[in-house]
Point group: C2
Chain length 237, copies 2
């Protein structure tokens, strides 16, 4: 909403770090707008309009949008325009299937090399999740859930895997809302406890298997009707 403050160096005269490009900040802005619900699936993103709103030129806006298209966050057609991606029911399910494969691989790799520090980190996240569950703070739970999984992937030691996983996450922001309305918070937390124990056991196959089941269960769709009610379904079909 607010124009981006383009003054960067005036504060310190080259703060030595802030090679922050406008396009990156614009990306963040757009992502935030989508995640907050300000922009809905199918909503159009006009380059010149965005540029005007943010007080920048068309170029960095265009770059930001292109990046987000590549990440599966937006969709675009040549000479026509860019809009917020909307997911079909099938695409959501597909994503869960792929995530299950990637994360069970991550669990397999992580199980045999999990440091004490990592175990502790996961335990902390889990504890916080339990607490959030008691307070029925769904936003917090979803956030912690994501952090939990990300921590596991990172501890797989496979950076290519992490990279790929992240792009997949970008492409599935809508699942957040989706899952939020679906599961009991305490149940969610309990499932993660099971997962952590499998990891701690150090048995790669066990960890892999539990993770596989974990993701697929979480992805099991409620009735199509419920999904449709929570989302702008195929608005840009």
């Amino acid at each position: 909403m607010n124009p981006i403050d383009t003054r960067v160096k005036s504060e310190y005269k080259a703060k030595r770090l802030p090679r922050i490009m406008l396009s990156d900040r614009i990306k963040e802005y757009v992502v935030e707008a989508v995640l907050s619900g300000e922009l809905k699936p199918g909503d159009r993103l006009v380059e010149s309009e965005l540029a005007r709103q943010l007080g920048v030129s068309q170029a960095p806006v265009r770059e930001a949008l292109r990046d987000l298209v590549l990440l599966g966050f937006l969709v675009s057609e040549p000479y026509k325009g860019t809009s917020v991606r909307s997911f079909t029911y099938e695409e959501l399910w597909e994503t869960y299937t792929v995530r299950a494969a990637l994360e069970s691989l991550a669990a397999r790799l992580a199980a045999s090399q999990l440091t004490d520090a990592a175990k502790e980190e996961l335990q902390t996240i889990l504890d916080e999740m339990m607490e959030a569950a008691r307070q029925r703070d769904m936003d917090r739970i979803v956030q912690l859930d994501n952090k939990f999984h990300e921590t596991i992937i990172k501890n797989s030691g496979n950076r290519t895997l992490y990279q790929l996983w992240k792009t997949l996450q970008y492409g599935t922001w809508s699942i957040v809302t989706y899952r939020k309305t679906t599961y009991e918070p305490v149940y969610l937390a309990a499932r993660h406890k099971e997962l952590l124990e499998a990891l701690k056991s150090g048995d790669p196959e066990k960890a892999s298997h539990v993770m596989q089941r974990h993701i697929e269960d979480m992805g099991k769709p409620p009735s199509r009707v419920e999904l449709e009610n929570n989302h702008s379904w195929r608005m840009n079909g």
Copy 2:
């Protein structure tokens, strides 16, 4: 090398299809230059220079380079520049690990729903591969190998999986050369035959398992020395 011919509409006055953007053509050009060896890992790609060579402005060149960076084909640093990505030994191995996970999932999915047409297509590719092996045409083998795997992924029916797999392929062009020098052509073809039979059996678990082993075996690195000789190793470290 040659300037891109920007005349598009003069030929037919809007040929109804060719919404071909310059940036796409530039992408192809750069990819081709890298695959052909004209550009080597670590080589710098200067926007204005490329623009001049191709007879276009900086904007579409910049977009092309950004896209290829997102695809893992190039690397860039803000305000510094873009260059051809070079892979560490570890990154190559990581890629194989992830590919194994993705493709074994694809095999699992494809096994239970493989159409007769698909079986035939795979068989045809395999036959051609056998023939190419007899003629020791390594370029052709690598090409067919890729086609074989791509066909399987497509027949998994999971478009998200296919999408993700493709970006991974982009990021691993160097493996082509790498593998080419590594395996016996006839052996390669034989391994694919085994794979196809597992798929034809219709047993998802078997197909998945054979695929997993297939990829990991193919990825088993020869001595580090050999790899270093075939590539510009960490030229841009």
